[in-house]
Amino acid sequence: MVSPFLFWFVAVITVIPSLALLFARKAVHVAMAVVLVMVGLAVAYVALEAPFLGVVQIVVYTGAVMMLFLFVLMLVGVDQRESLRETIAGQRWIALVLSIGVAALLISVVDRAGFGEPAVAKTGGPAEVAPYLFGNYVLVVETLGFLLITAAIGALVLTHVPRLFPRRTQREVQAARVAAGANPVNKTFPGVYATHNALDAPALDPEGNPIEESVSRVLKVRHQTTDGIEFKDENRSRRRELGAKEGDA
């Protein structure tokens, strides 16, 4: 017999999180809720004298399957928005009515069927399950091995993307750039001054005029640059002359 407390505990931690499948907006929240459902089902298996299956449930479902779901969620982007536009009119209500109907049908069928008193429990530990898996059902286990290999190869084939063009090396990219007429030399760096060394101030050319292309294009679009005129040194040429004279002397 199963203790009523255990049953209601399992019922609460499976049914309530599974409602997240219907109401949670974000797919990651749904995945975490389903992980909780799987743990609850593992508890149910242990309560139903199937400890081996309970452990397999934890390992396969919460450990492998749901983590695979989370990986795929991260691959496709966790904030993929779900469109709420109905493509079939009234689909939401039809679906709700249908699923409530399925629940009512299943529950009434189980209710009408007569079951005798439960037989003496047979615990399904690893030692009890093994003779079945590798005795009566060994052919099924072998077939499942083939199925798993086929699935793994299928996943590889489905997610493999062949390269359409040969990979371009850095040298080829640079050669193409020069052939297209680009300046092979780097652009001037932004100005570095005693009072201001951020990227938004343009460098000054030998005449003292700002070089516009030394500032990042992005900053220019955002109007976050300074014009650089304030750093222009009016007396530079005179000072240079004086310095030259001192050097001579």
């Binding site: 017999m1 199963v2 049953f7 019922a11 499976t14 599974s18 499948l21 219907l22 797919a27 749904v30 995945a31 799987m38 089902l41 149910a44 298996y45 139903l48 199937a50 299956l53 397999v56 396969v60 479902y61 492998a64 399957v65 695979l68 779901f69 795929v72 969620l73 691959l75 993929q80 779900e82 469109s83 689909q91 249908l98 699923s99 409530i100 399925v102 629940a103 299943l106 529950i107 189980v110 079951f115 439960p118 037989a119 429990a121 047979k122 399904g124 009890e128 399950v129 079945y132 059902y137 099924v140 499942l144 199925l147 798993l148 699935a151 299928g154 996943a155 489905l158 997610t159 993307v161």
Partner: protein, 99 residues
């Protein structure tokens, strides 16, 4: 408390999974609904196995788990392949097979 209560619980879970498949547009969430339905079926197998005092139901549930794991691998690979070509995982988008 009789193990038959777990069969009622499995019925409710199956209905919730079916509703998720019918309602949700996100392919991954709909797929999790399929997983929930498979698990509900597993729960009935284990509950009936307990009621009859035999282990065959548990063996059957184990096989269902293995098949479900293989199915998840291929299904998620298909979702990734669709996402690569269309940049979306909404179930409404791929309509090329429409008659």
């Amino acid at each position: 408390m009789s193990p038959i209560n777990f069969v009622y619980l499995a019925s409710v879970l199956f209905a919730i999974g079916a509703a998720a498949v019918l309602l949700r547009r996100n392919a991954i969430v709909a797929f999790m609904g399929v997983e929930l339905m498979l698990n509900a079926a597993n729960l009935t197998l284990v509950a009936f196995s307990r009621m009859h005092g035999v282990l065959e139901g548990q063996i059957m549930a184990f096989f269902v788990m293995v098949v479900a794991a293989a199915e998840v691998v291929v299904g998620l690979a298909i979702i990734i392949a669709v996402f690569r070509s269309r940049q979306t995982i909404s179930l409404d988008e791929p309509t090329e097979l429409k008659g």
